[in-house]
């Protein structure tokens, strides 16, 4: 049995003997990706618990378990963790690290030591964010958006959270930078941009957003810190500062950040659909270029968060129009995926189930997004549960569902073992049903006027909150069950070869399973398209020792 990346590694400093230190100092992209996953899902479960706590509180009108201030801190904690610690770094840091270099036939990312440093920067940032929970002032109660002037006046520990968000932003920038250089420089010979797998395209578009949008929020947070410490007045209306400017600067980053989350997720979808349809992807170039154009247009639409904040009407109109344009490349992707499945030999494995479930949930999330992109409708629906349901359908039902799809898809690659398929499918159905039961009633409640971020509500909304509550229970049960299936799969699962799904992309052509330390035994020459199937069988075959084609 040859050695896998679990057995040996390169380290950033020296070469320690102990296994623990080898993990801490590792520069291997696969190990770093795994460590990201471990930390991220720990935080994910903390945030899920706070969400569940809020659901408990909202089960009936009036105060049950927590008071209003704690509720404010709870949704801030939920938002900060989910956005800054989980979903923004999420797919790029985990699968971008583990899979992307394998897909382009590289030995590692361009700057392995920087990658290691970035991981620890991420840990450092997370530690600062969590530390404010244990200070006297307590965790911030501003919501994850830190809107001025409230964030400047509140007595809670906003500074810690701002600093944490800045540090995490730096980590995000460095990840993006690393991936951009990797994709530009380290593709295997012969692999042109239009021969890259679509997940790499997703990561590429994402990396540009990480690089070019994050600095804006970074400096905004610094200005907010300066404001809080020195009172420079930039966002403080009593000194002539404009709080709306904070919202502008904040959303200049945070709106592209939404596409930063979804683009790699779309990349995972574009990997899974052709593999489990056993068919070449329909419209490769349109999917690749739509990723790029979503990233491009995504920069120019931030104003739709500010329809009710005080902005010139002409600017609102322009932003509304531009926002509609984002739906076009997204729609193109959806048609391409469905066209790929048409006349394919569809294999309903768990990853495919997650992908198809996402087509439904994200379609709902996306289309409701178009409705609130209209200025008139948004005036009614801004800051209601409708908006909350919309972005949870898009984020949880889009990004996180596809994250889970990717976890099922690449599980055999990372661990060399297979989870229990029937149980994983049960977990999917539990979460899918629970998810819709949790969020769909919120569309109705929001439309009828239930505002977000309130810990109390009028009795007529109770029925929706109770539906949501039971949906949440079912969803969390499915979530826990899914991770239990993963755990069982990793410890007791059946060993599988390098390519259990009959996939075509390079990460499945490894000499061993799980992959060895420096990836492919030889760098292949890429003279084929990423998804070539003929009568339901992969066209390209390799001799895994020499990495020469043998078909």
């Amino acid at each position: 049995m040859s050695k896998s990346y679990f057995d040996e590694t390169h380290c950033a400093i020296g070469h320690p003997k102990s296994t623990f230190m080898q993990w801490m100092l590792t520069v291997d992209h696969k190990r770093i990706g795994l460590m990201y996953a471990a930390v991220m899902f720990t935080f994910f479960f903390i945030a899920v618990s706070t969400a569940l706590l809020m659901r408990f509180e909202l089960f009936a009108p009036g105060q049950q378990f927590i008071d209003g201030d704690t509720f404010n801190q709870a949704f801030t904690l939920h938002g900060v963790i989910m956005i800054f610690l989980f979903i923004v770094p999420g797919i790029p840091a985990v699968f971008g690290n583990i899979v992307m270099p394998l897909m382009i036939g590289a030995k590692d990312v361009s700057f392995p030591r920087l990658n290691w440093f970035t991981f620890w920067l991420y840990i450092f940032g997370s530690a600062i964010a969590i530390a404010s929970l244990f200070t006297d002032a307590g965790f911030a109660d501003t919501g994850w958006t830190f809107y001025a002037p409230y964030s400047l006046n509140t007595g809670t520990n906003v500074i810690f959270t701002l600093v944490a968000a800045f540090v995490l932003g730096m980590a995000s920038i460095l990840t993006g930078l690393n991936f951009l250089v990797t994709i530009h420089r380290l593709r295997a010979p012969g692999m042109t941009f239009f021969k890259m797998p679509l997940f790499v395209w997703g990561i590429y578009a994402t990396a540009w957003i990480q690089l070019l949008a994050t600095p804006v929020v970074g400096i905004t947070l610094i200005l907010a810190i300066m404001e809080k410490y020195f009172g420079i007045g930039i966002f403080d209306p009593s000194k002539g500062g404009d709080p709306v400017l904070f919202e502008h600067l904040f959303w200049i980053y945070s709106h592209p950040a939404v596409y930063l989350m979804i683009l790699p997720a779309f990349g995972i979808m574009s990997e899974i659909i052709p593999v489990f349809s056993r068919r070449e992807i329909f419209g490769y170039r349109t999917i690749a270029l739509s990723s790029a154009s979503i990233a491009g247009i995504g920069y120019l639409v931030w104003g739709h968060h500010l329809y009710t904040s005080g902005m010139a009407d002409i600017a609102k109109t322009v932003f509304s129009l531009l926002t509609f344009f984002v739906a076009i490349p997204t729609g193109i992707k959806f048609y391409d995926w469905i066209a790929t499945m048409y006349k394919g030999k569809i294999v309903l494995s768990t990853p495919m189930l997650w992908a198809m479930g996402t087509i439904i949930t994200f379609a709902i999330g996306g289309l409701t997004g178009v409705t609130i992109a209209m200025i008139g409708v948004d005036i009614h629906l801004q800051d209601t549960y409708y908006t909350v349901a919309h972005f949870h359908y898009a984020m949880l039902g889009g990004v996180v569902f596809l994250f889970f799809a990717g976890m099922h898809y690449w599980f055999p690659l990372v661990t060399g073992k297979m989870y229990d398929e029937p149980k994983a499918k049960i977990a999917f159905y539990m979460q899918f049903v629970g998810f819709n039961l949790l969020w769909f009633p919120m569309f109705i409640a929001g439309f009828l006027g239930m505002p977000r971020r309130y810990f109390d509500y009028l009795p007529e909304f109770q029925i929706y909150h109770q539906f949501s509550f039971f949906g949440a229970l079912l969803f969390v049960a499915g979530l826990v069950f899914m991770f239990w299936v993963f755990y069982k799969g990793w410890t007791k699962g059946e060993k599988v070869g390098p390519n259990p799904w009959h996939a075509t992309t390079l990460e499945w052509h490894m000499p061993t399973s799980p992959p060895p330390l420096e990836n492919h035994s030889k760098v292949p020459y890429v003279d084929f398209d990423p998804y070539e199937y003929h009568h339901g069988e992969p066209v390209v075959k390799f001799d895994y020792e020499t990495m020469r084609r043998i078909d």
């Binding site: 930078l177 420089r185 010979p189 420079i232």
Partner: protein, 232 residues
């Protein structure tokens, strides 16, 4: 580690061999990475200029008045110092590439000294402003007291101290980087054959200068025509 790196060869179906670019010894990749990093610097300062432009549009007269009270002589001196330091840094890189390691180190020392001069002048300037009662957290820049300056001036000085402060912070980081570079040169890790670190630190120094090229006229010169106190 990078020095004994031999690139791998990949063979296509016709038997033609292709050299594989590894992450080791990738000069162009290192340069590209640093350029991407500089984009983020530009965007950070770009966002601050955006804020500045916005408030200048709201309070044009206040901005001119506040700018007129800055010390243009010291600011101009600093501009020239940074200009010359960009030259010395560039020459040090040139000497390194031409194989003159000793000359390169000398030029880096010159750059460090110029950077320290820049910081000292900055310190003199800020002290004078402090003594005039204009500094972060002082009454003049807070609202609702008899010394309060008008909105536009509060915002101007708020941005002035923030932006020149962050720029000064970059200078300090730059000095640290240059000291580290000297250490690496002495350790033989940076040599005429492997000078990517030197190249990137030279780029860093240029971007710091580049930012000052915009910061200087925006703060110091817009009020120059109205005379003003010029910091006296």
């Amino acid at each position: 580690m990078a020095h004994e790196y031999i690139p791998e060869i990949s063979t296509d179906r016709d038997g033609t061999e292709h050299v594989v670019q590894g992450w080791q010894d990738d000069f162009y990749g290192g340069k590209l990475g640093f350029w991407l990093f500089m984009f983020t610097e530009v965007l950070m300062f770009g966002a601050m200029f955006l804020v500045l432009t916005y408030y200048k549009m709201l309070h044009p007269a206040d901005f001119v008045a506040a700018s007129a009270s800055l010390n243009r002589f010291l600011g101009g001196t600093n501009t020239v110092i940074l200009l010359v330091s960009a030259l010395t840094m560039g020459l040090s890189l040139l000497k390194m590439r031409a194989g003159d390691v000793k000359g390169a180190k000398l030029m880096i020392w010159a750059t460090i000294i110029l950077a320290l001069m820049f910081l000292s002048i900055k310190a003199v300037e800020w002290t004078a402003e402090y003594n005039h009662g204009v500094f972060l957290g002082l009454d003049a820049l807070q609202s609702g007291n008899p010394h309060s300056k008008p909105f536009g001036e509060i915002l101007f000085f708020g941005m002035y101290f923030t932006m020149t402060g962050i720029h000064g912070f970059h200078i300090i980081i730059g000095i640290g980087l240059m000291v580290w570079l000297l250490k690496r040169i002495n350790a033989g890790k940076v040599s005429p054959e492997h000078h990517i670190l030197h190249w990137n630190i030279a780029l860093y120094w240029d971007i710091v200068h580049l930012i000052w090229v915009f910061v200087f006229p925006y703060f110091y010169m817009i009020g120059a025509a109205s005379g003003g106190t010029g910091g006296h």
